[in-house]
């Protein structure tokens, strides 16, 4: 190997770093370290002149190792790697020392912070000496896509992908497309008909030759890795008919759009759902509205209608999250009931009115103008529904501890509508297991980054969209579906996919074939080769997390870019400085 020539760059980050850490002292310290050719400070290393400085120095001073002491590598590692590449240096011959999050932002004593910064820089310099030139590899990208779930999100993703000319396998559990949206009449706040939204999607889906729709089917298996998956699609009704031959399809990416199910209202005993005949759920009301008549079980037009929000949502007992669509849907019901029967009185019993979206606040105001009586209850203090006595002119009485007035009041009701929240589907665990993605404590699928990667998952090639991720409304579901489709189309357009060079490797000569690592791998990236009796890591699936490296009793597995020597050198540097 060539002689090491290391360049060290200490960033001031404006004053973020420089106000606590003496950057000049750190640079002076670094320049005295072995193999360091130069050490500089600069106001913003991540700026274009900052990056240019690195590239220029690489060319002028034949640098072959770079250390940047700045912020977290999460923030700018990619930026500086690009600077190395542009100067013709392998991007892995680079190391960052985090002297902002780990120093200037968390320490108040400038002297000690500067000492710590020196130690971190020393560690980085020691480590970078042992860095190896790594090459990322690329694999073929199969342009076919599997979409699981035929609701509004699934169909939208499928159409977007198929319209671009790719084969899409759309798998739906029910015997029709449309999902939960097919159970709804009008949508808030613009009162578009759900049927109109859906029929266009459904017709286009069925007419599109590139979309292969599997109704009453499920995905029973998925193997392979990004660009090269193989999925098994199994018919659900075929089991009885005896025609049980699963389809095997080749795909490159998967979009999971399995949606939600509604909360079971009978779990809240206060509301008497299932016992009082005129306490119904929002979906039961939708059914009535679609049939064209809002009436009680006895066939009477209800004079007093009460709508109760947050049934199953925003409570510690059931689900702590907000289901996001119920507030506007409740206002929509107030509007629909009032239009159907102007003589009716509507009370809307809520915890907080969440009117966050476009047009929502205006819709709320309209509902106020229509004299809907809004009553606020405390989260833990749910209203109680009783049967009214014969002398009252209503069916039921609802006792509310009204928070804004501080009064305990009873309001009359002939029909009570429970705004049931969303929850993860009963089979979400099975789906998550098959496509190898994670779920949170409520059962929702977890995105790879909640802000910056809202539709990707930690498994490359598996995307999530719609209400299987978290409760959301139609525009958000559609936006996510299209986002997932766009991500996939961008990858298909490239034809091949780059796989990060940071994966682990098994040294076949050392592997004893104990298979301990096979079960431990969180990404199912390790396969066992029977004929050779040793384990093998599929590099496209491996994330380089290092679990297998730590677990291997024979020390046969090497984490690339995280070798034992590199980590020990880093520690040495840290302690020498300290």
């Amino acid at each position: 190997m060539k002689e090491s020539r290391t360049g060290v760059y200490v960033c001031m980050c404006g004053t973020n770093i420089a106000k606590i850490v003496d950057v000049e002292a750190v640079a002076a310290y670094a320049s005295a370290l072995p193999n360091v050719v130069l050490a500089r400070t600069y106001k913003y290393m991540c700026s274009n002149p900052g990056q240019e400085m690195i590239s220029q120095d690489i060319r002028d001073h034949q640098l072959n190792r770079i250390v940047v002491a700045a912020c977290s590598p999460n923030m700018h590692e990619r930026t500086f790697r690009a600077a190395l590449r542009s100067a013709g240096l392998n991007q892995y011959l680079f190391e960052m020392a985090n002297i902002r999050e780990q120093c200037s932002w968390v320490h108040s004593d400038p002297k000690e912070a500067t000492e710590k910064a020196k130690a971190l820089v020393h560690a980085a310099v020691s480590r970078v000496q042992l860095h190896e030139e790594l090459e990322s590899m690329s694999v073929d990208m199969c342009p076919n896509v599997l979409v699981i779930g035929g609701g509004i999100a699934g169909m939208t993703a499928a159409l977007e992908l198929a319209d671009a000319g790719n084969n899409v396998y759309l798998v739906e559990k029910a015997n029709h497309l449309g999902g939960n949206l097919a159970r709804v009449d009008l949508t808030a706040p613009y009162l578009y008909s759900a049927r109109d939204l859906l029929t266009e999607r459904i017709t286009r889906t069925f007419n599109n030759k590139k979309i292969h729709t599997y109704l009453q089917s499920r995905v029973s298996g998925l193997t392979g890795y990004i660009g090269n998956f193989r999925a098994t699609i199994e018919s659900l009704n075929g089991k009885e008919a005896g025609n049980n031959k699963p389809d095997e399809v080749e795909i490159g990416n998967v979009v999971v759009c399995t949606g939600y199910r509604e909360f079971d209202a009978s779990r809240i005993v206060h509301y008497g759902y299932g016992k009082l005949p005129n306490v119904i759920t929002s979906f039961e009301l939708e059914k009535m509205i679609r049939a064209g008549r809002i009436e009680t079980r006895e066939g009477k037009i209800p004079k007093y209608v009460a709508i109760i929000h947050c049934v199953g949502s925003r409570s510690q007992e059931f689900h702590s999250y907000c289901s996001r669509v119920c507030c506007m849907t409740a206002l929509k019901y107030a509007h629909e009931i009032k239009s159907a029967n102007p003589e009716s009185y509507i009370s809307d019993i809520y915890i907080d009115m969440h009117a966050f979206g476009k047009g929502h606040e205006d819709f709320y105001r309209k509902s106020s103008e229509a004299k809907t009586l809004f009553l606020m209850y405390e989260k833990g203090d749910r209203p109680v529904i009783h049967k009214a006595s014969p002398k009252d002119d209503c069916e039921m009485l609802i006792e509310v501890n009204e928070k804004l007035s501080g009064e305990v009041i009873e309001i009359p009701a002939d029909l009570v509508i429970l705004m049931v929240g969303m929850e993860a589907r009963e089979d979400s665990y099975e789906v998550a297991r098959i496509v190898n993605i994670s779920q949170d404590k409520e059962g929702w699928f977890i995105e790879s980054h909640p802000k910056l990667e809202p539709v990707a998952t930690t498994t490359d090639g598996i995307f999530i969209a719609g209400t299987c991720v978290a409760p959301k409304d139609i525009p958000d579901s559609v936006a996510q579906a299209r986002a997932a489709a766009a991500r996939i189309l961008a990858r298909i357009a490239k034809e091949r996919i780059e796989v990060d060079a940071l994966y682990s490797e098994v040294n076949e000569n050392l592997c004893s074939g104990c298979r301990l690592c096979n079960q431990l791998c969180p990404y199912s990236a390790i396969e066992f080769i029977e004929e050779k009796k040793h384990s093998h890591i599929i590099s496209a699936l491996c994330k380089g997390c290092g679990v297998c490296v730590a677990a291997c009793p024979s020390a046969a597995i090497k984490g690339r870019h995280f070798t034992d020597q590199q980590v020990l050198a880093q520690l040495d540097g840290l302690f020498v400085a300290g």
Partner: protein, 378 residues
């Protein structure tokens, strides 16, 4: 529903309120015990009539309009408080007349015209039966001052009976029905000074400017002038009418008050009529029908009163007698209308200040008694 009924009293936008509480924050008078306008708006939205009729909050508001300027939802809390005052006047009034007037302007105008015509007929009949139209006072006068004095006292007595009965009703609603804790009798004595204090200074109206950057004391001053003028005039008419009407020599010790009162009345009336036309303050943006009846009638009274005085002084006895009849034709319905109209606030407002002070004291006493108990009750 109650909220629909209040529409007729002027509270048209109350359902828009979403209880953010901005109005109570900006209000110079709201405090921990009397939380208005927010709380009053809420009780109204929820239709809690029985609760509302026992509250004093509407009377604690002088309608500076800062809440309505601030309201993010244009729910107009200031106007709502005004409407609640109208509604409370109709509630205190056990005859139901006030309710009719507030809900229908036509009924009110017809009633006023009827009373005016009756008064006119009676006065002309009386005048012609015993006197001459060309004699103003003394022997053979058209409307002798002794007769007018008796006439005024009769009207005053009727007025007083209604006002006292309504005030007792108000006391019952507020202090008995709406006060769930014990009020010791001596608190009524201790706080009694509140009545004349608020009646003659209207200090709380001046306090409306407390939270403003640029303080405008004009509405308060004019309102005070109007009120003092009105009360002085009432006193002159009821007690000193014989000296006031007598001529030809002017009794300056009586007349000077008459002139001062007239100035107060004219300035106040012109200012408030002008404001209702120009709508340059938020509180004059919306005028209820009864507001117009009130200012118009007041205007007629003032103009005919002055005209009558001028004619009398210049020796034009015939026109003096005619304008006197017209003057009385508008004064009588005006006075009789008082217990049923907005003008009843002359009595209710100071009473409300008094009751609110008594109630606050009693509440504090109750709280301190509760706090002295060793056990904390949750």
């Amino acid at each position: 529903m109650f909220i629909d009924e209040l529409d007729r009293f002027g509270a048209e936008d109350v359902q828009l309120c979403y209880q953010c509480g901005d109005c109570s924050t900006v209000c110079p008078h709201a405090d921990e015990v009397y939380k208005f306008p927010r709380k009053s708006m809420r009780l109204l939205q929820m239709g809690l009539e029985q609760k509302l009729e026992t509250t004093l909050e509407p009377w604690l508001c002088y309608y500076c309009g800062q809440c309505s300027e601030q309201c993010p939802r244009d729910a107009d809390p200031g106007e709502t408080m005004m409407s609640l005052r109208r509604w409370l006047i109709s509630r205190y009034d056990f005859t139901g007349i006030s309710r009719m007037f507030f809900k229908s302007r036509i009924t009110e105008v017809l009633a006023i015209i009827a009373v005016a015509l009756l008064t006119g007929a009676f006065l002309i009949y009386y005048g012609l039966s015993g006197g001459s139209i060309s004699i103003y006072d003394g022997e053979g006068a058209f409307l002798p001052s002794t007769f007018i004095h008796r006439f005024d006292l009769t009207i005053g007595a009727i007025l007083l009976v209604f006002l006292v009965l309504n005030a007792i009703h108000m006391w019952y609603l507020v202090m008995i029905k709406g006060t769930p804790f014990n009020v010791p009798w001596w608190l009524y004595l201790k706080e009694l000074y509140q009545l004349p204090w608020h009646f003659f200074t209207q200090k709380r109206y001046a306090d409306c400017e407390k939270k403003r950057e640029h303080k405008v004391y004009m509405p308060w001053l004019l309102h005070l002038g109007l009120m003092l003028g009105y009360v002085t005039m009432l006193l002159l008419v009821m007690v000193f009418i014989e000296q006031l009407q007598a001529g030809p020599a002017i009794l300056w010790r009586v007349h000077i008050f008459g002139y001062l009162a007239s100035v107060g009345l004219i300035a106040g009336t012109i200012y408030f009529i002008r404001s209702r036309f120009k709508k340059h303050y938020i509180q004059y943006k919306k005028s209820h029908g009864t507001d117009w009846v009130f200012v118009t009638l007041l205007f007629i009274i003032v103009v005919t009163g002055i005209a009558q005085h001028v004619f009398h002084r210049t020796g034009l006895y015939e026109p003096a007698n005619i304008t006197y009849v017209i003057h009385l034709m508008s004064v009588v319905p005006w006075l009789l209308r008082m217990p049923f109209s907005k003008w009843a606030h002359l009595i209710y407002r100071p009473l409300a200040m008094y009751f609110s002070a008594v109630r606050r004291e009693a509440l504090m006493r109750q709280v301190s008694i509760l706090n002295s108990y060793p056990v904390v009750v949750k």
